[in-house]
Symmetry: C2
Subunit: 389 residues, 2 copies
């Protein structure tokens, strides 16, 4: 006799409408990637899953442009990469400099505090990025063990050039960690050339996979720091010493760390294979062309970019100022009438901007034209509503 | 110009053979669950995903037989439940009593140490479980804040009765946390009736979903402990104060915590819907019948159970002693010739036992008969090989 009866809510059929996801991610995924998830489940110790993991590892190295052996996918969504970097590279009392010009810097500082490290937030205006000069002054002043910086700040639509920061960090004996969640595969990221010690990315944006996995990579220097820790890293699930073994990063056996999801690994493997086949440079070019097409369309609509300096604009997620229209009306109209997702602001930009993402499978001219059409009609609707209030 | 060229390894086609997964999990999943993963991706803030999350929450309460409002799914594999319970309920310096009769107790102690708590391991023989008497003596002696115990020890195949432990814990002002990863839905688990304060489970076993998500539930008392913490919980990703909001557990708005994976949420929703439609009692009954069928077949083969006392045997994962045969030969033969996964031991039982799991979609007489046929032939092969050595 069950105490809790079978819930009626689970007796209705599952209904999932098709949407065009043009917010800050996740983006839509290709039929090939969807199809890959209909494969049978593999056990986490089967030889076939190890083969797929090896293929993913090769794809991660390609995407990040790195030779790092410690490159793998964590079985959790994007934030796990942020936690994995901070918990593996820092010990209690360590100073970490966190570049903060949007929500992700605040979140990294929150996480770093939980690990009893000493986060110092280096601030820039929302909509702006960091100069090498500002970074050097802060490295000099605080002598941090790690600098955490975001290449693509989705909450503001700001792009951060990474070139040059690695050299600066290493001059001051500091490691460089870069959040590439919404940027990698959409714009160039040269991990080895730029001297980046740790990088991670969600796979549901420019990479073109469903959410649920995070790719991450550590330089040999960062790996050394991990292996020379005096205290264990705080989180078992993100512990690169053990997880790296399951991913065969240390030329070793592959002991069980956790049960991987073969379904998601297949989907990531296929999305990386698609980029490999098209070529990373072509993939970047496609995203660049789509950005320009979207930009031109947005300008025609008389909208204003939140990031004024085009060199500081993130090409995968474009932010637009909320001016003479009700932003909630706009995104609700686009969703209800066209099943098109356009995002509002997030954290410090909530209520102030719209965010339009063109990433992965959605990075094609037809989809950009369609979202511009929907944006135009939704904007007219939202302006009418605002003028009536 | 790419520095790292496109990897050839990603240019070969993805090949995933169909296997019958009769190890300790993951198990195979039904075509209906597989099909649910071909749905379009939903954004993590879309109303439809919130509806699916509400349905999952109802399913979790049903599976755990609880009214707990703080019931949700974590976007990571089973171990995340262990970490979430320990990191949310314990603060540095707290004493946690960890029932250890297999690998999971050791793992929980490892995790607890990372959070600077004081784990005390209460030991039992591998193959045995814990009596109420032993538990009470330890509660009296150590006055722990939390007792962690495993209902289904997959590394040994031991079942732990939970009834009565909740009352004992509460008598000594201690919270009770139960790992039901390989047991829930396969055998009864009455969270509220048995006074369990925290429980979690992987979804890739008796529940019938692919791996990648973990269901978890906290009693009102446990929730109070979480909200009255003096220090923040160590891990942002498992922080129930914030994650519980995204899952609408506090009658609140649903702020963004992390990007959920709609694909996996659909699959979990469908697997819970299937159990709801069949009825939890019938689902248990099916697993019980399959266990008996497997047990009888194993006895006929002249094999010996690792857990002698049948009352202490976990019905979802049956452990068999390795005697006059080479266990590696056996499982390799079954895999290579029949694509059937039978597992070896794990942790303290490595090399000593075989583990045969009959769970979720695989819990049907035909599959049991098939694995018995494969086991018989593989055993004969392994015995021949052993006699030749």
């Amino acid at each position: 006799m069950d105490i809790i009866s079978p819930p009626d809510i689970l007796k209705r059929p599952l209904i999932v409408p098709h949407k065009i996801l043009m917010g800050a991610g996740p983006a839509n995924i290709s039929p090939r990637v969807i199809h890959s998830m209909t494969n049978s489940i593999l056990g986490h110790m089967n030889s076939e899953i190890f083969q797929i993991m090896d293929e993913i590892k090769a794809g991660i190295k390609y995407i990040f442009q790195t030779k790092n052996e410690l490159s793998l996918a964590i079985s959790a969504s994007g934030h796990s990469g942020m936690e994995a970097i901070l918990s593996n590279l820092l010990e209690p009392g360590d100073v970490v400099l966190i570049a903060t010009n949007g929500i992700w810097g605040f979140r990294a500082a929150d996480m770093a505090k939980r690990y009893d490290t000493k986060p110092i937030q280096m601030m820039a205006d929302y909509g702006d990025n960091f100069s090498l000069n500002q970074i050097e002054n802060n490295l000099k002043k605080y002598s941090p063990k790690l600098l955490f910086i975001v290449q693509g700040e989705t909450s503001t639509g700001v792009y951060q050039p990474i070139e040059g920061i690695g050299d600066l960090c290493h001059k001051y004996n500091c490691l460089l960690a870069v959040d590439t969640v919404a940027s990698v595969a959409g714009v160039p990221f040269l991990m080895d050339k730029w001297g980046v010690d740790a990088a991670y990315a969600g796979v549901q944006k420019a990479i073109g996979a469903p959410p649920g996995l995070t790719i991450i990579s550590f330089s040999p220097n960062a790996q050394k720091v991990i292996f020379e820790r005096k205290t264990p890293s705080k989180v078992y699930f993100w512990d690169m010493k053990i997880l790296g073994q399951q991913w065969n990063c240390y030329n070793n056996v592959r002991p069980y760390h956790h049960t991987t999801c073969s379904t998601l690994l297949c989907s990531l493997r296929e999305s990386l294979a698609i980029i490999t086949e098209e070529g990373l440079e072509n993939w970047h070019k496609k995203h660049d062309e789509c950005y320009r097409r979207l930009r031109d369309g947005i300008e025609k609509l008389g909208l204003h970019f939140f990031v004024k300096d085009e060199n500081k604009r993130l090409k995968t997620v474009t932010s637009v100022e909320v001016t003479d229209f009700d932003w909630k009306e706009l995104i609700t109209y686009a969703m209800n009438k066209y099943n098109v997702e356009i995002a509002g602001g997030l954290g410090p930009t909530a209520g102030k901007i719209l965010r339009i993402g063109v990433m992965g499978y959605n990075a094609n001219p037809n989809t950009v034209d369609y979202v511009l059409k929907v944006l135009k009609e939704s904007l007219e609707h939202a302006r009418r509503r605002s003028s009536k209030l």
